[in-house]
């Protein structure tokens, strides 16, 4: 028993924790939770908690035996919304096989493998997400339009606005759970909010995103409203994305930073972007994994639908943010396609792999796009060599199918499961007769 485990057990004793939730994530990014009594925890540290993986999305059993969930004591947190006395705590788990080797189906392990590949190359991967979501009134009914809780816009200050109350409550709770918040504001759409997390290594960030989504939903419930991370709720308002700033560090130095280079962007940084762009279409099914995701990407506005990069270009897939003098450490790239509703582990894993591939193979960075890509004609885009992201989940699946990079990063098992699941989703979607079709065709055909 190491000290961290001891610390956890002691805390549980001292704070009278009655339940410990073991958290892990399925392949689609849904949080799974097993509650155990504190008495079982010591055993869980030593041997893990066995469970039948076949009922979890994507955990179809590679081996006959049960899988084990092993709590990671460094992720121990008391859940603030469960009250101070007789509380509940949670830990994230690694999923392993009975012989202790990590399960290839565990998204956390997929990311860990990508990170250790980066570590082999001497890099640590840091991310910093800006998470958008909508707050809606509760009580949505099938067939009805969802109703946002306010009608404010970008950065609006709403006096007595429940958005502001909500953000304050959510941030307080996040901070209680050790997740630092950088920034928060009202976003462009009515009821749309954004909360930015402080940058951290990618695994911690991914854990934090999982926690974040839970906290936001919990706080909304407490306040009698409903929070959603659905990529595109309103056709007429912007969708919810998760712009994510990324950087690679070599020891204590930012590998993207090179004083004097254009945008202070080093060769490593340029090659990383080149990798993100070249493999952008293949990775889209992971970063934007739902049918609905493509309605956000192709809905215009700030969503990127083309494989471009730029400095202050908000239509680009990859943006190199403004450089703050004296802040060499803050050189980074911002990927703008990611959905808030992605599986953060898999998303970070494939994007990191794409960037590293760019570095390994020394990809050349195509020229920067300064224009608003939406404003260009098809012919102009063709002339400039600008390629689009997949237009639908179906297209994204097709491109991903032949991607060695994604297969290698996710592992063959997860790769195969993911494709099958997404094909099924697309088939279900295709089977729908939508309101659009009825409205457009029924009167005239």
């Amino acid at each position: 028993m190491d000290r961290q485990q001891e610390f956890v057990l002691r805390t549980i004793e001292e704070r009278d924790i009655r339940f410990v939730r073991l958290w892990f994530t399925d392949v689609l990014g849904t949080l799974k939770s097993v509650a155990i009594a504190p008495a079982e925890l010591e055993g869980a540290f030593a041997e893990g908690i066995g469970f039948d993986g076949s009922s979890i999305e994507g955990f179809v059993r590679v081996f006959e035996a049960d899988m084990l969930a092993k709590p990671d004591p460094s992720t121990f947190q008391v859940l603030p919304w469960r009250g101070e006395t007789n509380g509940t705590a949670r830990m994230f788990c690694d999923i392993t096989l009975p012989d202790g080797t990590p399960s290839m189906a565990d998204p956390r392990h997929v990311l860990q493998r990508s990170l250790s590949k980066a570590a082999d190359m001497g890099f640590t991967f840091y991310t910093h997400p800006e998470i958008e979501f909508y707050l809606l009134k509760q009580g949505w009914q099938r067939g009805a339009s969802p109703e946002p809780i306010d009608t404010s816009g970008y950065f609006d200050h709403t006096p007595h606005g429940s958005s502001a109350d909500f953000r304050r409550a959510a941030i307080t709770m996040l901070e209680t759970m050790g997740i630092s918040v950088e920034f928060s504001h009202h976003e462009g759409g009515p009821g749309q909010n954004e909360i930015d997390l402080r940058y951290a290594d990618a695994l911690t960030t991914a854990d934090n995103i999982m926690t974040f989504r839970t906290v936001v939903k919990e706080v909304a419930l407490e306040q009698g409203i409903y929070a959603t991370f659905m990529p595109k709720v309103f056709a007429e308002h912007p969708g919810s994305g998760m712009h994510t700033h990324m950087s690679l560090f070599e020891g204590d130095t930012n590998a993207f930073h090179e004083p004097g280079a254009p945008y202070q962007l080093s060769k490593v940084g340029r090659q990383f972007i080149a990798g993100l762009l070249r493999h952008g279409a293949e990775t889209a099914a992971v970063t934007n994994q739902w049918v609905n995701s493509y309605k956000r990407l192709w809905g215009g506005g700030e969503a990127p639908a083309h494989l471009t990069w730029g400095h202050n270009n908000r239509s680009a897939l990859v943006r190199v943010p403004m450089y703050k003098p004296d802040k060499g450490q803050s050189t980074r790239v911002e990927v703008r396609s990611i959905d808030t509703a992605c599986n953060p582990y898999l998303t970070f894993a494939v994007l990191l792999a794409a960037g590293l591939k760019g570095i390994e193979e020394g990809y050349d960075l195509p020229p920067e796009t300064e224009d608003d890509v939406w404003g260009l004609t098809d012919a102009e885009r063709r002339a400039m060599g600008i390629k689009p992201l997949p237009a639908s989940l179906s297209e994204a699946i097709e491109v991903m199918e032949s991607s060695e990079l994604v297969a290698e990063t996710l592992g063959e098992h997860t790769f195969d499961f993911f494709l099958r699941n997404k094909r099924a989703e697309w088939a279900d979607y295709r089977n729908q007769v939508t309101a659009f079709e009825l409205e457009r065709y029924l009167p005239s055909l």
């Binding site: 000290r3 961290q4 081996f63 006959e64 012989d99 080797t101 020891g251 063959e412 098992h413 195969d416």
Partner: protein
């Protein structure tokens, strides 16, 4: 003087061990010696020349002495003092000559600093604190030198004293631990002194941090060499009120300076490299961390080997409180390391690492690395400390020799084994010391030059032919150490169940179980029971097995299923134990026991064959041959064995008994990596063909006597026809017969049918070998058609009915047994069917494609995984074969190169002809090979057929090891298969459906 005639060299001098007596004689006359040379005839007892003769290198010692005296002359009063001191055969003189004769580097130092001679003559053991005090004083007041030079000079001055005590010791092995400890103390003192210099360089800033230097490795274990990298870890805590980041930055500066101060080459030479690579994250990690940061790392990220390294951590310089806090924080983790998950796998990997990574050219001269090297001893002792030290605190020592002692006192190693190993270790270390001392160079290689060897031998007390003696001793010690694993890991296990010698403390059953599971045994209690059964009693067999088992346990432990190996060995031993040749084979024929152990623990298939036919153990002996026999050879043996029996059943049993041995021979060759997949396929096919041939002959004779009505032919189909059989393959066949001229056709048909039925029955019966399932369902009309047809009937059938799938099946038709003339005619008959001129018509192509698509959805067994099923899964064998066969049907009429029953042969031909894209061909071939190899490996490991990538981690591990992958990579194997199959599926879809 050089003109002196040879005869004028006094006779006495040659006997004193000088290699160049004339030069020695001249030097003894050198005026610099100031008359201490004694009488000119050089034979006076107690004279200088006799003193010199005791040095490791008398010539070198004399030359060094002359140079030293010359240098002493420059220092006022020094030469006189020296002359006085050296006049008699005093301790002082003996020491000076010993040092000069053992180390030219220290001789050089004395020439440069003659005033240090008293460090030699007045050498005495020095406490660690005193060493620090002296060196710190030396650098604090460096005089005209730079502090770094003062450090070097002061260091060597103390080194003189250590060398003086070491080289004049009665027994160089006895004094070794003291020397090694003194060297470690001196290194620690140098680190402290270097840190003082670094602090002075940095100035006031230095006070902002509390830096401690923790020694690791041999410095930490107080068992250092004369010259070796000094392994350290730097730990720092901020001084009061200083932010942590700043403190760490200052500490990093200090540490960097400290390292440079020790390792940089200045006018006064250099000390040694300071190596901080054992720190968290190795070379990529920050040089200095706080105690908390270290702890966080070790708690979360550290690997098993890092804990092993920490076993020797000891604070030696800088802030003692911080250093101690570090050790207090990490020590408990060291002793919990053996309870970490993956400990067993890590340990196995570490053991492999110890044995690898030695440049080939040096392997034979290495004292430190490689099998039988010092590192091996150190590693093994540490490992046992980790395994047993969790429960037994008495084992927690950082020094190798002490470790051996406490392990033996606790009964974890036999007392005699510990003593032998300890002595070997001391000898090897002493060798290393003497080699390094000569030039103060870091080397771990045995010298090759005669002079070097001679000095080395003499320094270790070998007086007559020292060069040969030292090499012989070295080899003998290395042999002892090579048997280390046996002594240290396995023999004590036997002591838990059998009394090996009366004096030894026995390993407790708990400790034995602990160790067995650390070695990879899954059922330690069962393993102990087997050991007890194998070694109990007083029979000759148990006596020999007590000798053999410690070594064999190690070999079992190297494999995926040590438990099964030990169990199979017990069974075979019970069967054969009293057979005279068996024990002799294992005991005397070097590698037979090793091959047996590996085979048993690696393959249940081979173990099962051996349990049935223990006499096959002989194949594993040195005189056994592991090359599969040719078809003719097997056929000849089967024929003669069958010929000796009158009745058919006995005859076929005799042939099948030979098949059993040959299967074992092939399996052993395969496990040893002596045959390729293609060779294996051919060998298995030859074996099946020979058995079919002999069985057919026997059945024909039984049914038809000497005047048969018809001639019978067995045509191999599928893998048998393609020469690609594996362990689990059925024999797919067609039976053809042709009535002799004038015979009644229906009587002939009846006779042929009887023969064929008899053949299938005799081979399908349980017998000595695995059942050979003879399957004729590819015949015309399938299961509804007659089992055997005449050639004329085949002709008629194919002319009228022939279906595309039959043409496809015939692509691999190869006669394997029976009438050769009939074989020719059958092949001529089917040629235009399987290689149609002009290829297939579009409807035929469509038919094949549809058939395949339907088969995919229907034939896959319930519950099977479409991604990993070897035969019918995506990218599996059937995909590859169908793709190749479609190409053959379409193009073999035009291109004779495609007319081969071999899948890979036809694929390669198609690629040469440009009929398939090279990339697709590569993907298809890779998948076919991997699926075939995994299927074979599956049978070998489990003893029964395996249809898909194993879904059980132990099977996966076993299969992956047989395929030559590292241990515990079972899931990676599944991953690899899925990847290869995915690519093959894409190639198949492109070639087969779209091509």
């Amino acid at each position: 003087m050089s003109s002196r005639a040879p005869e004028s060299v006094p006779a006495g001098i040659a006997r004193l061990g000088f290699t160049d007596p004339r030069r020695a004689n001249d030097l003894l006359d050198d005026p610099a010696l100031g008359g201490i040379a004694g009488s000119p005839d050089r034979i006076d007892a107690g004279g200088l020349s006799e003193g010199l003769s005791r040095a490791a290198d008398p010539d070198g010692a004399l030359l060094g002495l002359v140079r030293f005296m010359e240098a002493a002359a420059d220092v006022p009063g020094l030469r006189e003092a020296v002359v006085t001191a050296l006049h008699d055969d005093s301790l002082a003189r003996r020491r000076l000559l010993a040092v000069l004769g053992a180390s030219s580097a220290l001789g050089d130092h004395l020439v440069a600093h003659p005033e240090h001679w008293t460090a030699v003559t007045e050498a005495a053991p020095v406490a660690a604190s005193e060493r620090v005090a002296r060196l710190v004083a030396a650098v604090a007041d460096p005089g005209e030198q730079t502090p770094a030079d003062a450090l070097r000079v002061g260091y060597r001055e103390q080194l003189l004293g250590i060398a003086a005590l070491d080289t004049t010791a009665e027994d160089p092995l006895e004094v070794l631990p003291a020397t090694a400890a003194a060297l470690a103390d001196l290194a620690a003192a140098a680190l402290e002194a270097a840190l003082r210099i670094a602090r002075d360089e940095v100035g006031e800033e230095a006070a902002r941090t509390r830096l401690a230097v923790v020694a690791m490795g041999k410095t930490g274990g107080r068992e250092l060499n004369y010259i070796s990298d000094v392994d350290v870890i730097f730990v720092a805590e901020p001084a009061d009120g200083v932010p942590e980041e700043e403190a760490v930055a200052v500490a990093t500066d200090l540490a960097t300076r400290l390292m440079r101060l020790c390792s940089a080459s200045t006018g006064a030479g250099s000390l040694w490299q300071v190596d901080p690579a054992l720190r968290p994250e190795g070379k990529n990690g920050p040089l200095v961390r706080t105690v908390a940061s270290h702890r966080a790392y070790y708690e979360r990220w550290a690997k098993t080997w890092e804990f092993q390294a920490l076993l020797k951590a000891r604070p030696v310089a800088g802030d003692t409180e911080v250093g101690q806090a570090y050790c207090d924080a990490v020590q408990p983790m060291v002793w919990q390391a053996s309870s970490r998950e993956n400990f067993v796998a890590d340990v196995q990997a570490m053991r492999r690492r110890v044995e690898e990574h030695i440049p080939k050219a040096e392997a034979e001269r290495q004292i430190k690395l490689g099998a039988g090297g010092l590192r091996d001893v150190e590693f093994s002792v540490q490992l046992l400390q980790l395994v047993h030290g969790r429960a037994d605190e008495s084992l927690r020592t950082a020094t190798t020799l002490e470790g051996l002692e406490v392990l033996s006192a606790g009964g974890y190693i036999g007392r005699e084994d510990a003593a032998t190993l300890g002595a070997a270790y001391r000898y090897l270390r002493a060798l290393e010391h003497r080699i390094q001392l000569f030039r103060l160079r870091r080397t771990h290689l045995m010298p090759t030059a005669e002079g070097d060897l001679r000095r080395l031998g003499r320094s270790l007390g070998h007086r007559s032919s020292p060069a040969d003696a030292v090499q012989e001793q070295w080899r003998a010690r290395r042999r002892e150490v090579r048997r280390l694993h046996e002594r240290i890991f396995y023999r004590p296990l036997l002591s838990a169940v059998a009394r090996l010698s009366d004096q030894d403390v026995r390993l407790t059953p708990e400790a034995a179980r602990e160790r067995l599971s650390a070695l990879g045994f899954r059922d330690p209690a069962g393993a102990l029971r087997h050991l007890e059964a194998l070694t109990g009693g007083v029979s000759r067999r148990s006596a020999i097995q007590r000798q053999l088992l410690p070594v064999m346990l190690g070999w079992f432990a190297d494999e995926a299923d040590p438990d099964a190996g030990l169990l199979a060995f017990r069974k075979i031993s019970d069967e054969l134990g009293s057979t005279h040749w068996y024990l002799r084979l294992l005991r005397d024929e070097g590698s037979a026991a090793e091959r047996l152990a590996h085979t048993l623990a690696r393959s249940r298939y081979a173990a099962a064959l051996l349990e049935q036919a223990p006499e096959c153990v002989q194949f594993l002996g040195d005189r056994g041959t592991m090359t599969p026999r040719t078809r003719e050879e097997v056929l000849r043996r089967m024929r003669s064995a069958a010929g000796r029996k009158d009745d058919a059943e006995a005859a076929v049993l005799a042939a099948r008994t030979i098949r059993r041995s040959e299967l074992f021979r092939i399996a052993v060759a395969d496990l040893a990596g002596l045959v390729t997949l293609a060779e294996l396929g051919q060998a298995m096919t030859d074996l099946t063909a020979a058995l079919l041939e002999v069985t057919l002959e026997v059945c024909l004779r039984e049914v038809a006597g000497d005047e048969p009505l018809t001639r019978v032919l067995v045509v191999g189909m599928g893998r048998l026809g393609g020469g690609e059989q594996g362990y689990g393959s059925d024999a797919d066949v067609l039976f053809v017969h042709d009535p002799v001229p004038g015979a009644d056709e229906s009587a002939a048909q009846g006779q042929a049918l009887e023969v064929v039925k008899r053949l299938i029955a005799l081979l399908g019966r349980n017998g000595p070998d695995p059942v050979l399932d003879v399957d004729a369902s590819l015949r015309p009309e399938g299961k509804n058609g007659p089992l055997v047809r005449s050639l004329a009937s085949y002709r008629e059938y194919y002319a009228r009915w022939s279906l595309v799938w039959e043409a496809q099946a015939l692509l691999r038709a190869t006669p394997v047994a029976g009438d050769p003339d009939l074989a020719e005619r059958f092949l001529a008959l089917v040629a235009p069917i399987r290689w149609p001129e002009g290829g297939l018509t579009p409807p035929q192509v469509r038919e094949i494609r549809t058939l395949k698509a339907r088969m995919e959805s229907e034939r896959l067994p319930r519950g099977a995984d479409r991604k990993t099923h070897f035969k019918l899964g995506h990218g599996g064998l059937s995909d590859v074969e169908w793709a190749v066969q479609l190409l053959q049907l379409c193009h073999a009429g035009e291109h004779p190169a495609l007319r081969t029953p071999s899948t890979l042969g036809a694929l390669a031909a198609a690629e040469d002809l440009g009929l398939v894209e090279a990339e697709h061909a590569a993907s298809l071939a890779a998948a076919w090979r991997l699926a075939s190899a995994m299927r074979n490996a599956g049978v070998l490991f489990r003893g029964k057929g395996v249809d898909a990538v194993p879904t059980n981690d132990r099977d996966a591990d076993g299969v992956s090891r047989i395929l030559g992958m590292e241990s515990h990579t079972g899931e990676a194997l599944g991953e690899r298969y899925r990847r290869v199959a995915r690519r093959a599926r894409a190639a198949f879809e492109a070639e087969f459906f779209d091509g």
